[in-house]
């Protein structure tokens, strides 16, 4: 019996621990601080371990990220965290100042959009200003490189929702960045 348990645990560790950084990164961006992110990830890994037998095939990273995401939502509800500002499909962002940015009519000027010039600190600050589900979808798509289908699995949303949300998230980040760039120009930076 203990042999079986050890084998099971090793198998789990072998498959799941390589994705700890990805799990933590998602939790950290969602929760906003180290301590809560660690709690969320630990809970997620324990939960994953308990249900490990239910994981058959497929992408374990996607499976783990799904659990991390669910654990975060549970945690945020229990703690009534303001981090849970998922805007759902209502296009109104709760985060202060984001609303008019999302729907503002900033002229689309690719020249001004050299995001590759943005520095790490500014980019991270802009991401923090986005609503949680925009932040999340940008992470899953651009950083974790998940497909639309995988994102749908992790977030429990339909593919169509994934596409529209991703599009809005990109617009929102783009507008925040343009606003930032305009501000820097005005400040003579």
């Amino acid at each position: 019996m203990p042999v079986h348990q050890d084998d099971r645990r090793r198998r789990f560790e072998l498959l799941a621990l390589p994705h700890l950084d990805a799990a933590y990164n998602l939790a950290r961006w969602l929760a906003g601080n180290t301590a809560d992110a660690e709690d969320v990830v630990q809970e997620a890994y324990l939960r994953a371990y308990r249900y490990f037998d239910a994981f058959h095939d497929g992408n374990i990273r996607v499976w783990l990220l799904t659990i991390v995401r669910n654990c975060f939502v549970t945690w945020a509800k229990e703690n009534r965290s303001s981090r849970l500002s998922f805007v759902a499909e209502t296009p109104v962002a709760e985060a202060a100042g984001v609303e008019e940015i999302l729907w503002g009519t900033a002229p689309r000027d690719p020249e001004a959009l050299l995001l590759d010039r943005i520095d790490s600190e500014t980019l991270s600050a802009l991401m923090q200003r986005l609503p949680a589900d925009y932040r999340e979808i940008l992470l899953l798509r651009e950083v974790e490189d998940l497909s639309y289908k995988e994102i749908a699995t992790v977030t429990g949303a339909a593919i169509g929702t994934v596409m529209s949300r991703l599009s809005r998230a990109r617009d929102a980040l783009r507008k925040l960045w343009m606003q930032q760039a305009a501000k820097e120009t005005a400040d003579g930076v």
Binding site: Q5, R11, L17, Q42, L46, D116, D119, S147, L166
Partner: protein, 254 residues
């Protein structure tokens, strides 16, 4: 002005189009300035997010905490016993970097090494390194202050290993630990390099001659050993061999 095809560009950028549509749209983008600019914009946002966005790495304590918690988890009734006995090692090909990757290596080692293959000091040292990462026992005294670690170890061992401050060289001190290797009580001084943990073991070898730095690779770990002033040193890590060699020379020569 936005082109009629603009709506499909995210799908193209995200690799969500079938081969035929991808080819057609790519051909269009090559001729349409507006679409080319929009594609570039999508790409530059992606590049920025991938390369500039802060990537939070799981702290080493978290892996240890999870490892410890898992050990206390009751095991559910097996649903499909032994079906997955052949673990898919292929999935380790892109094992995450950092400590998570190190721990995967650890788990892999434990699997592969049971029963322990290859005797000798190397296996003992690696075994101790592995245990230090798996159990919640990387350090007994966790501090980056060399003036705390050294007396702590000296008070408990018949050896007073040099504990150097190497943070400026990229090897911050994590702490110290008592260990027991191949019959020796040993000091373990723990350093880090990026997300890699380095265990530097030291034990007394009175009367034995000095030995120069020797490097080897075993079971996916790199090891460096030498002996100075009657103290035997072993450094072990999943860090690259040349980096670990640099570390060893810093400790040895510093």
């Amino acid at each position: 002005m936005a082109c009629d095809h603009a709506g499909l560009l995210p799908l193209l950028a995200d690799g969500e189009l079938g081969a035929a549509r991808r080819w057609l749209l790519s051909r269009h983008v090559a001729r349409c300035a507006a679409c080319a600019a929009a594609m570039e914009e999508l790409q530059s946002m992606r590049t920025a997010l991938r390369t500039r966005l802060v990537q939070h790495r799981a702290p080493p304590e978290l892996a240890a905490r999870i490892g410890a918690a898992l050990a206390h988890e009751p095991v559910p009734e097996p649903v499909r016993p032994a079906r997955q006995s052949s673990v898919r090692f292929a999935s380790l090909g892109f094992a995450g970097s950092g400590l998570a990757g190190a721990l995967a290596g650890v788990a892999l080692t434990l699997l592969v090494l049971r029963p322990p293959a290859g005797g000798g000091m190397e296996s003992a040292v690696i075994g101790s390194h592995v245990r230090s990462l798996m159990a919640q026992h990387l350090t007994d005294v966790a501090t980056s202050d060399q003036h705390t670690v050294k007396p702590w170890l000296s008070a408990r061992l018949d050896v007073s290993p040099p504990v150097r401050e190497l943070a400026d060289q990229g090897f911050p001190l994590v702490g110290g630990r008592l260990d027991y290797i191949d019959g020796h009580p040993a000091a373990a001084v723990v350093y880090r390099h990026a997300q890699h943990v380095i265990n530097l073991f030291a034990w007394a070898s009175p009367g034995q001659p000095d030995a120069p730095i020797r490097t080897e690779t075993r079971q996916g770990f790199n090891l460096v050993t030498w002996r100075t002033d009657g103290i035997t040193f072993w450094a072990v890590s999943d860090l690259e061999a040349d980096q670990l060699g640099r570390f060893a020379r810093l400790v040895h020569g510093g």
